[in-house]
């Protein structure tokens, strides 16, 4: 009896010491696992963007199949927030406080991201690669928040520059989603055109629920716009282009990285998207392809992307999953995170991860080059990540013709 009691006591002591040891280790990290959280709309109006989280999931599974990172598997916890900030907040808090995430990656949307930004930053939990090109991620900069998505402001700059300097247009208009995404595009376009002493000839807001685009097209026609910037979602691009065609208004349409999935856009516009110029944040290298040459996103020329197609998409994506820019973005936004995890070595802590991320310079994955700097609360660029974009034109066969080389955009600070 005494021996049994001593044995139980010994087991309890070991357990208690064990628990104490684990509690002292970094949250979300064990000897064999790294727990990473992510939200993304799998239902609701923004559900097409749910592919971002599924892309990340396949990417993590590929890494795990290749042995993980320093012997640890990436355990991906993602949940459906339906693009509802209240659900994002509840889901993030639940996962963080019940299971304990080491870090958060991607996460679709500005509004859902803003709902949890302060919570994550106060708890000093790293968040890498928000899936929205919003200035809120870097101004003011946060030590634990690393942006990788080029800002929408930059898309507008390059699109306007190309429209004015290369295409020679003077009458440029914009259809902008009536939210942070659209308004940053509007601001970027206004600032860029001002450099050429030009102003937007029409600034037309589009509400997310709007389905009838006739009044919008009438405004563009009245303004005699030669080019129209489309800072809206894919569905509104389809509606605007369709209504424009029916009303015999066919300007040079120019869209953002959010509508850069050309095969998808060609399908939902029944081919009207052909000829549309869009900004791109990667998935090909314009330098290697060459200006004027074509890229077929279904057969990527980028060796790394081709590997992801074979080893992540083919093996781990669901059968009905579509290979495309949105799925790939779920990989591209977080490659710097994986790179930093590798550089951390086996002794993984959040502070170490942040330090390694800060050392990343000209990192090249499937997107543009990504660089961070040591944290400086006065320098938003220390957390901007990728600043370069390029332009492509959608072709009728679903391919994309490269129009420009990488262009480093200018950061426009928020006016207070």
């Amino acid at each position: 009896m005494k021996k049994l009691f001593l044995c139980v006591l010994a087991v309890m002591t070991v357990a208690v010491f064990g628990l104490t040891f684990n509690a002292a280790a970094e949250e979300g990290v064990t000897d064999t696992e790294i727990h990473v959280g992510q939200w993304g709309p799998q239902t609701g109006p923004a559900a097409p963007w749910g592919a971002v989280a599924r892309g990340t999931d396949a990417y993590f599974k590929m890494i795990n199949a290749e042995g993980g990172i320093h012997g640890r598997k990436l355990i991906h916890h993602y949940f459906d927030d339906a693009y509802n900030p209240a659900k994002t907040k509840a889901g993030v808090k639940q996962l963080q406080e019940d299971i304990g995430m080491f870090a958060w990656v991607s996460g679709v949307g500005t509004a859902p991201g803003l709902a949890v930004k302060d919570y994550l930053m106060e708890k000093k939990i790293p968040w890498i690669g928000p899936s929205a090109g919003s200035r809120h991620w870097i101004q003011p900069p946060n030590k634990y928040l690393f942006n990788t998505y080029p800002l929408y402001l930059g898309d507008a700059q390059l699109l306007c520059k190309y429209a004015v300097e290369t295409l020679g247009f003077k009458r440029i208009a914009i259809a902008y989603q009536n939210d942070d995404y659209g308004k940053q595009g509007l601001e970027g376009a206004q600032k860029q055109l001002a450099k050429s002493d030009l102003k937007l000839v029409a600034e037309i807001p589009v509400n997310v629920a709007d389905t009838d685009m006739k009044p919008h097209i009438m405004k563009f026609r009245q303004a005699k716009a030669e080019a129209v910037l489309l800072f809206v979602g894919p569905a509104h691009v389809a509606r605007l282009q369709g209504t424009g065609k029916a009303m015999q208004f066919e300007p040079q349409w120019m869209s953002t990285t959010t509508c850069g999935d050309h095969p998808l856009m060609m399908a939902i516009t029944k081919g009207l998207y052909a000829g549309t110029i869009s900004a791109s944040f990667g998935m090909m290298d314009p330098k290697k392809i060459g200006i004027g040459n074509k890229e077929d996103s279904m057969n990527p020329s980028l060796p790394l992307l081709a590997k992801y197609k074979k080893d992540a998409y083919d093996k781990f994506a669901a059968k009905e999953e579509r290979w495309g820019m949105t799925f790939n973005a779920g990989i591209g936004f977080i490659e710097p995170f994986v790179e930093a995890l590798k550089r951390c070595g086996p002794d993984l802590t959040r502070e170490k991860l942040v330090a390694e991320l800060e050392k990343i310079q000209d990192f090249q994955g499937i997107m543009g080059t990504v660089s961070f700097k040591p944290f400086d609360p006065k320098d938003p660029l220390c957390r901007i990540g990728q600043q370069e974009v390029f332009l492509v034109r959608a072709e009728a066969d679903g391919t994309s013709t490269v129009l420009t080389d990488w262009y480093t955009t200018e950061f426009i600070p928020m006016e207070h």
Partner: protein, 291 residues
């Protein structure tokens, strides 16, 4: 002047879709005395069925569209029979919540079965062609919607006026107990009304689908159809149509001359205005029960 005429014409065109949705809602309101918030999804599911028949199975239009409408008819009947009829002595609030619940179920079913991606549905006419009269444009799809809406309105008028079933429906809607005493099977009548309403809404859905098919495509037209029905009077079929056209035209004029940003909310401002002036709607008769 050209712009004004263009806006009015565009308003009438979009109002036709709202009118079809509004007609569906009024039919059900008259039968079940409930604002039917599942109206949009009763059209959504058949639209996706049509999309599947056309795109996946290559079924020709002349089979796919009638099959879709028959499916819509059955869907409406099933919803009434399986869900709504089972509610025990429900009050209006209970019925509204049931329709909202059904809306969520159907929306979830569509999202789960067909996915959330946007798609374009094949259609016999191009949604991008237009007819030009002077400087005024109307797309052929809008013109078709206008004609179809008018045909359905006239058909419904003739149905309620001259068919035995239509007269039985009217009788049930006016006084269910008296109708039952006259030998009318009122429960069946209510079920068929749901079926017809679903079919009318599905016609609107099929006419919107060539532009874009996505799970949330019927939400805005349903709200605007509801707004039109409230403006015209929830118990008046011509009122719902007239209200929907008012909403469509005012929306376009407001968007063109005042603010495109607030174009979408003007429909609801009209509701408030009409309800303040004539609570039963512009066309509905206001009955006062006398004891």
């Amino acid at each position: 002047m050209v712009d004004f005429l263009q806006m009015v014409l565009s308003g009438i065109a979009v109002g036709s879709s709202y009118a079809l949705m509004g007609l569906g809602m009024v039919l059900i309101y008259k039968a079940s005395e409930v604002p039917n918030f599942v109206q949009g999804e009763m059209a959504l599911l058949p639209v996706f069925i049509a999309f599947m028949l056309l795109s996946t199975y290559g079924v020709p239009y002349y089979i796919a569209f009638p099959a879709t409408l028959i499916f819509a008819l059955i869907l409406g009947c099933v919803l009434e029979f399986v869900i709504l009829r089972r509610a025990k002595d429900p009050n209006i609030l209970g019925l509204i919540i049931i329709t909202i619940g059904m809306e969520m179920m159907l929306l979830g079913l569509v999202s789960w079965k067909f996915g959330a991606d946007q798609r374009a549905m094949p259609f016999p006419i191009s949604s991008y062609d237009s007819i030009i009269i002077g400087d005024i444009f109307i797309s052929t799809l809008d013109l078709l919607t206008l004609v179809v809406a008018l045909v359905i309105m006239v058909s419904l008028f003739l149905f309620f006026r001259f068919s035995k079933m239509g007269v039985a429906m009217k009788a049930t809607q006016q006084n269910e107990n008296a109708a039952a005493l006259m030998g009318i099977k009122t429960k069946q009548i209510r079920m068929v009304t749901w079926g017809i309403s679903s079919m009318v809404g599905s016609v609107a859905g099929l006419l919107m689908a060539p532009v874009l098919v996505e799970p949330y495509m019927m939400w805005d037209p349903m709200l605007k159809g509801f707004a039109g029905a409230v403006v015209g009077g929830m118990t008046s079929l011509p009122g719902a149509v007239f209200g929907a056209y008012i909403i469509g035209i005012v929306e376009h004029l407001f968007g063109g001359y005042v603010s495109i940003e607030f174009k979408s909310v003007v429909a609801f401002a009209i509701i408030v205005l009409v309800l303040c002036i004539k609570p039963s709607g512009l066309f509905a008769r206001h009955y006062v029960k006398k004891v």
